[in-house]
Amino acid sequence: MEKKITKQDIERVASIARLCPSQDELEGLTADANAILEYFSLIDEIPDSVAPQTYVLSHDNAMRPDEEKKIVDPKAIRRGFGRTQDNYMLAPKSF
């Protein structure tokens, strides 16, 4: 493995992933990341010339006709919203 992962690296990743671990947790995650990726660096043995396998199946995407169809009562979707305001979902402001 090229270089050790630092606590700062993990902090940055946590921010991107919208997680806020405590200092203890950060230390634990950093240790885990290093141990796990150290072991996984085993894959470096595989030659780089191998082509990456992106898709499991080789068929092209199927297409569907442009038809409108109602699937569920939208009320059932709205009932899950954390906060609402007149059928709008209410999220925190960002202004």
Binding site: D32, I36, V50, P52, L57
Partner: protein, 496 residues
């Protein structure tokens, strides 16, 4: 051991009218009420709905009207599969009270074929685990923990007090446990890296993961989209085949099923060999395994070979060692992506206070997603960032190709690959809590089938003390019927 009723005999009894759907259901409910306090398989039971359905089926049968292929069979569903207007918790606090507004494609099919859906089953949180100890709610206990020396299910009181509690395997631990204790005739579970096969092996039942793209994943909460399949857990391979025939087939709501046709239902010659087959025995599958497990599986294979006259070939698949890294790196990446949707705004756990946008989302995710899931999200995020993508994510895609090629090559020379399902026997609940890597390594024999999209199943082949050992069958892509058929043939040899 208290032998589980064979699926064929249950369906025959239901068809002949000797057993009504309602009576079958009441048997199951009685067992749930008696033993689930100890086993802890269910998240939620649907007894009222189930009774109504069973009654309705019995009325139709009495009136001579047609009924579905699963008519009267009691089915339980892993709680990552959407059952309309019921809780879809995925074993997580994040979705503890989330009521899902639609049915999964497979649940639609269960209903259409008159299965009686009895309830939702516990699992590792978002399917991240190999022993069902990572559910946010409670751990399911392997029912073998409660069998006494005679193989009888000891009372819950005795169980609670004295026996060691073994893991049922994971992530679909409760699905296998439920089948093993007779809470249901069949269970529907999911397998991303072994999550059906591992618990099937640990609980002494049969389980099958179809070829990737065979069963619609519409309605299955994502763990790793290019790895997972929904599959059956049953007392026997016949039950697996029956359920598989119902759930498989194309669905425009899952583009990966575009080229798939439903696997045919098991017919009268299902468990009979159609031709002489060649079976590959990879040495890597036995080298790292617990010696008792290795021996038990080798012996079982030997007995089958003798009885069936199939050809056994020793093979080597060195790429097996890359399986765990390739699997987990890609699973982390896909899982991190799948988990982005949980932000406390649209459904699920709500934020505690109303903060600014970024801290609100971060706090609700941190508070309601468990440790292992968070670990995977973090690692998945890390390895897909620009700086690290080539070294890890892209390299893992190469490793996937590499493993796939070796398995495909092996399966051109053999019709099937046989080996142990798990390298070890079931461990005690809590034993593998400390080191995540130790947990991961338990998946070494099951992940290749997911990496390569191959059909694979597990049948019980032996016991070490009271702990079951599973025998794994892996087939070529698209040979699902033949693979489950082979499982049935092996079963009939071993069960006798």
């Amino acid at each position: 051991m208290e032998l589980l009723p064979r699926t064929l005999s249950t369906t025959a009894a239901l068809k002949s009218g000797k057993l009504t759907a309602s009576a079958n259901l009441e048997n199951k409910i009685a067992r749930v009420e008696k033993y689930d306090g100890a086993v802890r398989a269910f998240i939620e039971t649907y007894f009222d709905d189930a009774r109504a359905k069973a009654k309705e089926i019995d009325a139709r049968v009495a009136a001579g009207k047609p009924v579905g292929k699963l008519s009267g069979l009691v089915v339980a569903v892993k709680n990552v599969l959407a059952v309309k207007d019921k809780k879809l918790t995925c074993g997580s606090k994040m979705l503890e009270n989330y009521v899902v507004p639609y049915d999964a494609a497979v649940v639609e099919k269960l209903r259409a074929e008159d299965a009686v859906i009895i309830g939702s089953l516990n699992c590792d949180e978002f399917a991240c685990g190999s022993d069902n100890t990572k559910s946010a709610f409670f751990a399911t206990v392997n029912p073998v923990s409660f069998f006494d020396e005679k193989g009888e299910f000891a009372s819950a009181a005795t169980a609670a007090g004295s026996t060691e509690k073994y893991v049922p395997g994971g992530s679909s631990g409760a699905s296998a446990a439920a089948v093993a204790v007779g809470f249901c005739d069949l269970a529907l579970a999911t397998d991303t890296g072994g999550s059906i096969r591992c618990p099937a092996a640990f609980c002494g039942v049969s389980g099958f993961k179809p070829t990737y793209g065979t069963v619609s994943r519409y309605g299955m909460a994502d763990m790793a989209m290019s790895f997972e399949q929904i599959g059956p857990v049953a007392p026997d391979a016949y039950g697996c085949a029956l359920l598989l025939s119902v759930i498989s087939g194309g669905d425009f709501r899952d583009a990966t099923t575009a080229k798939t046709v439903a696997v045919p239902a098991p017919n009268s010659t299902f468990a009979q060999p159609t031709k002489k087959i060649r079976i590959g025995i990879p040495k890597e599958y036995f080298e790292g395994a617990n010696p008792q497990v290795a021996k038990a599986v080798k012996d079982a294979i030997g007995r089958f070979a003798t009885k069936s006259g199939c050809e056994l070939v020793d093979i080597s698949i060195p790429a097996v060692k890359f399986g765990i890294p390739a699997y987990y790196l890609l699973v982390y990446s896909e899982f991190a992506s799948a988990m982005q949707k949980y932000d406390g705004l649209k459904y699920g756990a709500k934020p505690e206070a109303n903060d600014e946008l970024v801290p609100t989302v971060s706090k609700v995710r941190t508070a309601n997603i468990g440790k292992e899931c968070k670990r995977r999200i973090m690692l998945g995020t890390y390895i897909t960032t620009k700086e690290h993508k080539d070294a890890w994510y892209t390299k893992a895609l190469k490793a996937r190709a590499y493993v796939r090629k070796q398995f495909d090559d092996a399966l051109t020379n053999c019709d099937f690959i046989l080996g142990p399902t798990m390298p070890n026997l079931p461990w005690i609940i809590g034993e593998k809590a400390a080191d995540p890597l130790q947990s991961y390594l338990e998946d070494v024999l099951t992940v290749p089938a997911n990496l390569c999209g191959l059909p694979a199943g597990s049948v019980p082949c032996a016991k070490i003390g009271k702990l079951p050992v599973g025998l794994q069958v892996i087939g070529r892509r698209g040979s699902d019927y033949e693979t489950v058929s082979l499982m049935a043939q092996i079963e009939s040899t071993l069960v006798g």
